[in-house]
């Protein structure tokens, strides 16, 4: 499938060379817009309604910010996506593709063909804050940080338990410290504001890391 790529700069999903960027054409049935200014690029895009799919990179915002919303009946050839990445870690192979209730199957099939063709894995989700992974893992990371403060076990024993007991490649404390606790703060702060759910309220250790990072800056 031929697709056109519009890069508005500073993409968090594709910050380095990648097969998806290299296989783009000057025109195609699908348009992929990446980077920080996708909203502006989308507004100035001609003939987007004739495309099989228009895929735009999302930050923390809902897809509805770009499409408008009414009565839960939204859905068009415009889909959102984001490659999952934890803090300072490289982007993973996971692309979360955001759909709306009426998103056509043809648009989703085109997205799957392109992303999987570029060696990525796609998971489809609704237009929810935190999508799948952040929505699911951030409360667990918060709980691990909180329990470390409360002396449930040492950091090594917490990590070891989850690695040996569940086969996780890395324990939560080592993972968060390696990828930057301040980034965990940013994500949980945004999710807490969006959902009001205390499970997302940033853990003390993440807040400390964030404040220290700000002081240094």
């Amino acid at each position: 499938m031929f697709y056109q790529l519009i890069d508005t700069g500073n993409s968090r999903s594709f910050s380095a060379r990648h097969a998806l960027l290299e296989s783009a054409q000057t025109d195609g049935d699908v348009v992929i817009i990446i980077g920080e200014k996708v909203g502006h690029a989308l507004q100035t895009l001609d003939g987007s309604e004739r495309k099989t799919a228009v895929l735009i990179e999302l930050g923390a915002e809902s897809l509805g910010m770009h499409t408008g919303e009414s009565r839960g009946a939204e859905g068009s050839n415009l889909l959102g996506f984001s490659r999952f990445r934890l803090g300072t870690d490289e982007p993973t192979r996971l692309v979360e593709v955001v759909r709306q209730p009426g998103s056509p199957a043809t648009a989703l099939a085109a997205a799957k063909e392109i992303f999987e063709g570029a060696g990525l894995e796609m998971a489809v989700c609704g237009d929810f804050d935190g999508r799948i992974v952040d929505r699911l893992v951030r409360p667990y990371y918060n709980a691990a940080l909180k329990r470390l403060d409360e002396g449930l076990a040492t950091a090594d024993d917490l990590d070891m338990t989850l690695k040996l007991g569940l086969g996780y490649p890395e324990g939560p404390i080592a993972l968060l410290e390696r990828t930057g606790l301040e980034h965990h703060y940013d994500m949980t702060h945004a999710l807490f504001e969006a959902t009001g759910d205390p499970a997302y309220a940033p853990a003390r250790r993440a807040r400390v890391a964030k404040l220290r990072a700000e002081t240094k800056a």
């Binding site: 999952f84 934890l86 993973t92 192979r93 996971l94 979360e96 894995e121 998971a123 489809v124 989700c125 609704g126 929810f128 999508r131 799948i132 992974v133 929505r135 699911l136 893992v137 409360p139 667990y140 709980a143 691990a144 329990r147 002396g151 449930l152 076990a153 040492t154 024993d157 917490l158 070891m160 338990t161 989850l162 040996l164 007991g165 569940l166 086969g167 996780y168 490649p169 890395e170 939560p172 205390p198 499970a199």
Partner: protein, 291 residues
């Protein structure tokens, strides 16, 4: 401290049978006690099958297996545990049953014998309170299947002496296991984190955030977990998840431990997971299809 040579296992079900294999394989004389003759016979058959596979896979020789099996015995008489230096209980997850077993053990065992509980959700301190030897009582939570999983979460009760805990810790290592130390806290470490995480995954399905297969694929790809949460729940069984989650919620009242309504509806519909052929996924034989 008397060195540990003889190990008792009370309860010869899923966990007890596995724990007995671990102890015997490490060279301890191991005595398994259960009130039910059939439970002991089933465990013996499974144990022989397990060690036959160890020989096939060249992990052990026939001679080694003969020695190990020769070191294992079974009894329906609790008095049979009187020579044990440590007894690990893995009877039903019921405080009254555990109290009754521990009190009876206290009568038959010499004063130096350590008691350990494999409970998943009860408090070590509360079980110890009915044992007659609170200072010599430790939590030793093995993982399923115990004969393959190295992790043991070890917790002292409020009145456990440091020397008893240390002796049990050394014994755990001598069995070739990997102990981690945790407080006597509901769910210890593993279930404390896993049960709410699994509940949250069920809530994503309930809220229509994504389909089970998309959630599992996302978690496995993004974080490298060997199984997604919904596949894991199907394997564990939703009925078992309900029991553990309800016990955890009853002792913590943490909102994330509360069981989502969808679980009870799925149980009512007979969708318990792999064992009924339908859970978050549909299963044909052993293979998984769709989702």
């Amino acid at each position: 401290m008397t060195p540990i040579k003889t190990v008792g296992v009370a309860g010869s079900g899923t966990m007890g049978a596995g724990i007995a294999i671990v102890a015997a394989r490490a060279g301890f004389r191991t005595i398994v006690y259960d009130t039910r003759e059939d439970a002991l016979a089933r465990a013996r058959k499974q144990t022989e099958g397990f060690f036959a596979k160890s020989v096939e896979r060249r992990k052990l020789t026939v001679g080694q297996v003969d020695t190990i099996l020769g070191n294992m015995s079974a009894t329906t008489d609790i008095g049979g545990l009187k020579a044990c230096d440590i007894v690990i209980e893995a009877v039903f997850e019921d405080l009254k049953v555990k109290h009754a077993v521990c009190a009876a053990l206290d009568d038959v065992c010499p004063p130096h014998t350590l008691f350990a509980s494999n409970t998943s959700t009860l408090s070590i301190t509360e079980i110890a309170a009915g044992s007659g030897r609170e200072d010599r009582f430790v939590g030793m939570h093995f993982c399923l299947p115990a004969q393959l999983m190295k992790l043991v979460e070890m917790s002292p009760g409020l009145r456990t002496s440091e020397s008893s805990f240390d002796a049990a810790w050394d014994f755990c290592k001598a069995m070739g296991q990997v102990p981690v130390r945790t407080k006597d806290n509901p769910g210890f470490i593993l279930n404390y984190f896993l049960v709410p995480f699994n509940n949250d995954a069920i809530r994503l399905v309930e809220a229509g955030v994504a389909a089970p297969a998309d959630i599992d694929r996302a978690i496995k790809t993004a974080l490298g977990y060997p199984m997604g949460p919904l596949e894991l729940l199907d394997l564990v069984g939703l009925d078992t998840h309900l029991l553990v989650a309800e016990a955890l919620y009853a002792s913590t009242h943490e909102p994330r431990a509360a069981v989502p309504a969808l679980v009870k509806r799925m149980i009512a519909a007979g969708q318990l997971g792999r064992k009924t052929g339908q859970g978050f996924y549909t299963y044909g034989g052993a293979a998984m299809f769709g989702g």
